[in-house]
Amino acid sequence: MQGSKNITINFIINDEIFNNITVPVRQHLGDFLRSIGLTGTHIGCEQGACGACTVELDGKAVRSCLILSSQINGSVIKTVEGLDDTLMKKVKEIFLKHNALQCGFCSSGMLITTKEILNKKKKLNREQIRTEISGNYCRCTGYQSIVDAIEEAIEDNIKDI
């Protein structure tokens, strides 16, 4: 019985299957994703406080800086580069329409967080939306345009229910 400093694992990222990939166990998932060219996931604080590095792990939004690459064996991961279903394409259009981003550094985390909000299929008021995104730092917009965008995305997503 002993641990190891490198680990060979299998996982799926944005529908691409990765088999027998060896990663250093101390590397966090955010750094790992960036090391394979998925640089849309941004590193802002490495302590889970800013939300920039948020990705989807097995269907749930998580901070990629607080997960070690060694922990993703057998997991399915989605990053901003993989948000190409109809729902998220529409969400991106709505973000553009409201100018719900300026520098773009928080956007990948905001979109993954928005995806999780939309998964709930629940109408939220502005205050509730603000609570949902309260772990995602944006220095540029002041949040209002992001709340506008998510509000419209929720409306759009539940209008057929």
Binding site: S108, R130, V147
Partner: protein, 797 residues
């Protein structure tokens, strides 16, 4: 939100013509790359043979480095090399952060790495180059330093006392710079004042907290002797000049590329030792070196801002007319003045801007700037404005309350009237094209002050403390050469733009302004397409590359639209003229009979025109078809800088309503309004978003943000969990509206809009909170206004 601005500017043509894009809230289509994960940030870059770096930094605010032993660390896995100051200095010349036009500034030489003495906690001592950042950090732990701690100089208020530790012995004391501005006879005017009010306000240090930390990749190509720099900065040409100068490289052989930048706010326009050290390491090693600050490094090495204690006095006559104002500002800037802008400008702005919306015939302002063993302080968004606006507007409120006037009425009778420009600030700085009366009137109308007052009364009956605040302010934008250039700094106040029509009919624009999310790309495209008469989708744009764009100052001081935009406008008009001349030759018609619209040269009388694509193809491939002697230039380049005045000022009025919880000291901002006059709005939506983002940063400074130091100069909260940036939950929606007074200094008529929110929010929040506390006859005077300060003020703790 405004879809189309009230047309604004007759010099631009009517808003209902084809391709009329200036003044429309068009979508920033280019921003889609960020939503696709395709932004190009510095840390995304991987070059062949690139190595990473990390810094050994001083754990002490003030300490002597007796010796450094790097031999164990050098043997660590992945380590390429470790450099100390003595190595770096062989390729990089030191700098001094002083200007010559504002009186004597005294700051010592600074090198990329500290030599014998570390002067702030976080100052870089050694750079470790390794294959990965983690390996570089492993090695840092193995560097042995023999430190001798020295007593730190922390408190700015005792910086000049006789017994205080002197940070730079050769200077004799801790004074960096002092300036006095005086207009009229202050002493006499105070004597004649029937009422005098006083205030002393404190502003803590805070910092920019750009979500993307500072970063650089330096790539020294030995074969070409060329330095390529990928840098998340705001001023590529300034960096090019500085790198050439300090690394002794011909300026043409330095290329600085600044593509996507994850927020800057002034943080990324300065020269940082660690970045210079990374460049030096690349020059020594002959391979690309990356340095990207982590968040802890950001908090302790990105410039901090504010750190002021200001006292002020306002004298008024019995009718409430302002007679005299005096301020005395003290600021602490860390151990060095930053390069090349210096750390004097924030205080200078305080001296220049205090009282600026009003007629105050007698004015005196004294600024004193001292050294401390803390992170260097320098220009951050709304430089000096929060301090100047707060001291002014707090005094104005006090005066009104003391003489029993409404706060809006005392402002109205003291404003420089909208029809009396050009005029001057009380400090003597020229002002023109401002509208304090109109913006305040509009603000009061949309706020519905009588209703707010009614609600405040009802709340008070229920024991709820509600307060209302209003302010007016001037915002410095579009600086002219009289700002930095006159003082000897090689900071361009000029910006350039180049526009060419390509063979495909596409239009290519390049500008010296960079994009950090404000929407530079969108507005430059709008100006070019509008002025040229082409559709938006024909425009392509290059920004942020010294090899590919015209020379210019870059993006700071809210100058992108007003200066860079004017350069694009001028270039577009020149190109249009060139195109029309060629077309008139081809079409055998007088130039006055044709125009460009919808990507074609059209005949004004409706006859057949020629598409720009066809015209370009003719010029590029079949020049023989064009009458000889026709100028075939389908490219135009223009430059612009502001002439005759130091700055173009913008003005705003702001209001807010807050509730103060007497039990917890928590403050809730219920409503926030801004009326902004930034002249021509190229894209109103983007203007509004600049204002909103700015207000939120202002709220950060007013209520949350502070770099907390202990008495040994250690920053206590240098993490994103402990340093409180504004997050979505606590922030209000902000109502923005406009008054439009075009700047007469350009055809475009645009002023800047990036700083007002940050400059004005701290004052209006302070006024609103003090209005809420006025029923208890209490006040707060220190920012950030924390729950603890509220509870102390009202005697709860």
């Amino acid at each position: 939100m405004v879809d189309i601005t009230l047309n604004q500017n007759s010099k631009l043509g009517s808003i209902d013509r084809p391709n009329s894009y200036i003044g429309r809230s068009l979508t920033r289509d280019g921003a889609i790359r960020h939503l696709e994960g395709g932004g190009k940030f510095v840390d995304d870059l991987i070059l062949p043979r690139m190595v990473n770096s990390a810094f050994l930094r001083s754990p002490y605010a003030h300490a002597e480095i007796k010796s450094i032993n790097i031999s164990d660390a050098q043997k660590y896995p992945g380590v390429i090399d470790i450099f100390l100051s003595e190595h770096i200095d062989t390729v990089c010349k030191p700098w001094i952060g002083v200007l010559s036009h504002l009186g004597e500034m005294r700051s010592p030489e600074q090198s990329p790495l500290a030599k014998k003495i570390a002067r702030w906690q976080g100052e870089a001592i050694a750079i470790v180059i390794a294959n990965t950042r983690a390996q570089a950090e492993d090695a840092i732990e193995a560097i042995e330093v023999d430190w001798v701690e020295k007593e730190p100089q922390i408190n700015m208020e005792t910086a000049l006392d006789k017994d205080t530790v002197v940070i730079h012995k050769e200077l004799g004391n801790n004074l960096f710079w002092t300036r006095t501005v005086e207009q009229g006879d202050v002493k006499k005017a105070f004597k004649e004042s029937s009422t005098i009010v006083e205030a002393t306000l404190d502003f803590a240090r805070h910092t920019g907290v750009t979500l993307e930390t500072r970063g650089i990749v330096a790539d020294w190509d030995k074969s070409e002797k060329k330095m390529s720099i990928y840098h998340n900065g705001q001023a590529p040409h300034m960096m090019q000049h500085i790198i050439a100068k300090h690394f002794d490289i011909s300026e043409g052989l330095v290329r600085v590329i600044s593509k996507d930048v994850g927020g800057s706010f002034g943080i990324k326009v300065h020269v940082y030792g660690d970045e210079m050290a990374a460049i030096a390491a690349s020059k020594i090693l002959g391979r690309p070196v990356k340095f990207v600050a982590d968040r802890l490094e950001s908090f302790t090495t990105d410039i901090h801002a504010r750190c002021h204690k200001i006292s002020g006095k306002l004298g008024v006559d019995k009718n409430g007319k302002f007679l005299s104002m005096e301020i005395n500002d003290l600021s602490g800037i860390g151990p060095y003045s930053m390069y090349p802008r210096t750390s004097a400008i924030e205080t200078n702005q305080v001296l220049n801007l205090s009282g600026s919306p009003y007629i105050i015939p007698n004015y005196k302002a004294v600024g004193t700037v001292v050294f401390q063993n803390k992170t260097p302080m320098c220009q951050y968004r709304a430089v000096g404005h929060p301090i100047a606006v707060a001291i002014t507007e707090v005094l104005v409120d006090k005066a009104a309350k003391k003489i029993g006037m409404k706060v809006e009425d005392i402002r109205k009778i003291n404003f420089i009237p909208d029809d009396q420009y050009p005029n001057k600030t009380p400090s003597g700085v020229p002002l023109e094209d401002l509208s304090h009366q109109a913006t305040m009137n509009k603000l009061l109308k949309i706020m519905n002050v009588p209703d707010l007052e009614k609600q405040k009364k009802l709340d008070l009956e229920k024991g709820i403390l509600t307060g209302i605040g209003i302010i007016s302010m001037c915002e410095v934008t579009n600086p002219s050469p009289l700002f930095y250039g006159v003082g000897g700094a090689h900071i361009s106040s000029q910006d350039g733009a180049s526009i060419r029509l390509e063979g495909s009919g596409a239009v290519h624009v390049s500008s010296s302004i960079t994009e950090q999310g404000q929407g530079t790309e969108a507005i430059m495209k709008q100006i070019a397409a509008d002025q040229l008469g082409v559709s938006m989708d024909t425009i392509r744009l290059t920004l942020g590359d010294t090899d590919a764009t015209p020379y210019g100052g870059g993006t700071w001081a809210s100058r992108g639209a007003g200066i860079g935009g004017e350069a694009v406008l001028k270039a577009a008009r020149t190109l249009k003229n060139n195109i029309l001349k060629i077309a008139s030759a081809i079409m055998q018609t007088d130039i006055d009979t044709i125009d460009i619209a919808n990507n074609s040269v059209i005949r004004k009388n409706g006859g057949e025109g020629i598409s720009l694509k066809k015209l370009a193809e003719t010029v590029y491939y079949r020049g023989h078809e064009i009458p000889q002697g026709t100028n075939p230039e389908l490219i135009a380049t223009s430059s612009f800088y502001i002439e005759g005045i130091p700055f173009v000022f913008t003005n705003s009025a702001m209001g807010c309503q807050v509730t103060v919880d007497q039990d917890t000291g928590l403050i809730k901002i219920n409503k926030f309004w801004v009326i902004e006059d930034c002249g021509t709005q190229i894209n109103p939506k983007l203007v509004e978003e600049q204002i909103r983002g700015g207000v939120i940063q202002g709220i950060g400074g007013a209520l949350y943000e502070e770099c907390v130091y202990d008495d040994q100069g250690n920053m206590q909260n240098a993490t994103m969990a402990d340093y409180l940036v504004p997050m979505a939950c606590e922030m209000p929606d902000i109502i923005v509206d406009h008054v439009i007074t075009n700047s007469g200094r350009s055809i475009l008529g645009a002023k800047g809009a990036g700083e007002a929110g940050t400059g004005g929010a701290p004052a209006v929040i302070m006024n609103a909170i003090n209005d809420a506390l006025s029923s208890m006859n209490k006040e707060v005077t220190s920012q950030p206004i924390t729950p603890e300060k509220i509870l102390k003020a009202i005697g709860k703790i």
